[in-house]
C-alpha cells in the first residue's frame, strides 16, 4: 500500500505540473500575439496601461490581464477538474485491482495450506498402510487355514489401498500445482519456488518393493520434513498484512514442537 500511495502522489504532482504548463504556454503565447497587435495600432498616450474607458483602447498588457489571464485561469481550472476526475477514476481502478490481488493471495495461501496439509496426511497414510502391508506379509500362517485366507485378504486389500493412496497423492499434487500456477503472479517467488520444490520431490517419490516382497516408502522422513518446512512458511502468512512473516530458519526444535506435533 505505501508504494501505491507514493505513486498516487507522484501522479497528482505530474498532473498539477502539466496543468500549470498548459496554462503558462497559453498565457505566454496569447500575450505575445496581443503585444504584437497592440504595437501595430495607435493608442492614446494619456491612457494608462490598464485603463478601461470609452476613449481608450485596451493595451496589450490590459488584454493579457483582463482577458487572457482570466480565460487561461478558467481553462486551467476546467482542465484540472477534468484531469482530476479522470485521476479519481484511475485511482479507483488501481485500488480495486490491488484489493483483488490481495484477495487472490489470501485465497491461494489458504488453499495451499489446506492442500499441503492433505498431502502430509496422505503421505502418512501411505507410510502407515505400507507398514500394515509388511506386517501382514510377515505374519505367520499355516497353509490352507483360515489364517492364510485372512492374511491373503489383508495383503491384497492393503496393496490396493496403497495404490489408491498413491493415485490420490498424484491428484493432490496436480491440484497443488494448478493452485500454484494460478497464484504465482500474486505469491512471493520464494514461496512459489519452495512449494514447487516440495511438489517435485514428492512427485518423484516411489514405493519400492523389496526382494522379500515388502514395501518401502522411500524417503518418507525427508519428504515429511520438507512438507513441514513448507507448512511452517504458509502458516506464517498474515491475512491482515498480506505478507509472510520472517521465519527463524535455523531453529529445528521449534519446528518439531509447534507444527503438527501429531503428524505421522
Amino acid at each position: 500500500m505505501p508504494s501505491s500511495l507514493s505513486t498516487k502522489k507522484q501522479v497528482h504532482k505530474s498532473l498539477l505540473t502539466k496543468t500549470l504548463l498548459v496554462f503558462f504556454i497559453f498565457v505566454s503565447s496569447t500575450f505575445f500575439i496581443h503585444m504584437s497587435f497592440a504595437a501595430t495600432g495607435e493608442r492614446d498616450a494619456s491612457c494608462h496601461v490598464l485603463e478601461i474607458s470609452e476613449h481608450c483602447d485596451l493595451s496589450g498588457i490590459g488584454h493579457l490581464i483582463y482577458g487572457d489571464l482570466m480565460v487561461g485561469g478558467v481553462l486551467a481550472l476546467f482542465f484540472h477538474h477534468l484531469a482530476h476526475k479522470n485521476q479519481v477514476r484511475i485511482d479507483k481502478i488501481i485500488n480495486s485491482n490491488e484489493e483483488h490481488r490481495l484477495k487472490r493471495k489470501d485465497f491461494a495461501v489458504f488453499h495451499l495450506k489446506s492442500q499441503v496439509t492433505s498431502m502430509l496426511f496422505n503421505l502418512g497414510r501411505i507410510k502407515k498402510t505400507a507398514e500394515f502391508y509388511n506386517d501382514a506379509l510377515k505374519s505367520d500362517y499355516h497353509p490352507l487355514t483360515l489364517e492364510e485366507k485372512e492374511r491373503n485378504w489383508k495383503v491384497r486389500t492393503l496393496n490396493e489401498r496403497i495404490k489408491f493412496e498413491e493415485e490420490k497423492l498424484g491428484r493432490l499434487l496436480d491440484v497443488i500445482r494448478s493452485t500454484l500456477v494460478g497464484a504465482q503472479d500474486v505469491l512471493e517467488p520464494e514461496v512459489v519456488m519452495q512449494t514447487d520444490g516440495v511438489i517435485t520431490f514428492v512427485g518423484e517419490m516411489i514405493i519400492e518393493e523389496q526382494q522379500d516382497g515388502t514395501m518401502e516408502f522411500v524417503k518418507y522422513a525427508v519428504s515429511k520434513k520438507k512438507v513441514l518446512y513448507l507448512l511452517e512458511k504458509l502458516k506464517s502468512y498474515s491475512a491482515v498484512m498480506h505478507t509472510f512473516k520472517k521465519v527463524e530458519e535455523n531453529i529445528e526444535n521449534e519446528l518439531n514442537t509447534s507444527v503438527y506435533p501429531n503428524a505421522t
Binding site: E190, M193, Q194, G197, V198, T200, F201, G203, E204, M205, K219, A221, V222, K225, K226, V227, Y229, L230, K233, V247, E249, N250, I251, E252
Partner: protein
Amino acid sequence: MDLTQQVRDIRKAFGQFSSSKTQVCNTLKPIEIEFDAQEDVLEATQSIDFDKGDVIIKKSGIYLVIAGPQIAKLRGARNRWIDFWLRVNNVDLPNSNVRRVLTDSQEKDVIPMNAVCPLNRGDTLNIMMAAETEGEGMGIEALQPDGEPTIPSIILTLVQLD
C-alpha cells in the same frame, strides 16, 4: 569475543559432509552417494542437515556446492567411465555432470565437482553416481592410511553465498 557471541554472528549457512564407507555401483542405474558424518563446526549442524544421501537445506539462499569423490575401481583392467552429478529435489541439476575413466584398481583419483545454485528451505541435494559397468567395483573408496587421517570416500562442502 566469547564462543557464544561468535556463534551468534554466523548468519550464513554452511556445512561439510563426508563418508567413511566405500560405495560401489552394483547396478547400472544412478545411485545416491550416502554420507555418514558432518563436521561439527560451530552451528553448521543447525543450518544444513543430512539424512543418508539427502542433504537438507534449512536456510534459503544461493549455495556454492563443492564435492570431491575419491574414485576407484576394485577389479578389471578395461577402460570404464564413472559419472558424478548433482540432484536437487529428486531432479538432476543441468550441466553438473563430471566423468572420469578408470583402467585398473591401481588408479585412484579425486574428481572435483562444483556448482552454484539457488536452494530453498527444505530442498534436498543429492550427489549421484553411475558407472559403465556393475561388476568391476567402480565407485568411491574410503581409505585408512597408517599414521594419517582417514581418506573419506567423498567430501562435500556447502557454503551459502548471499
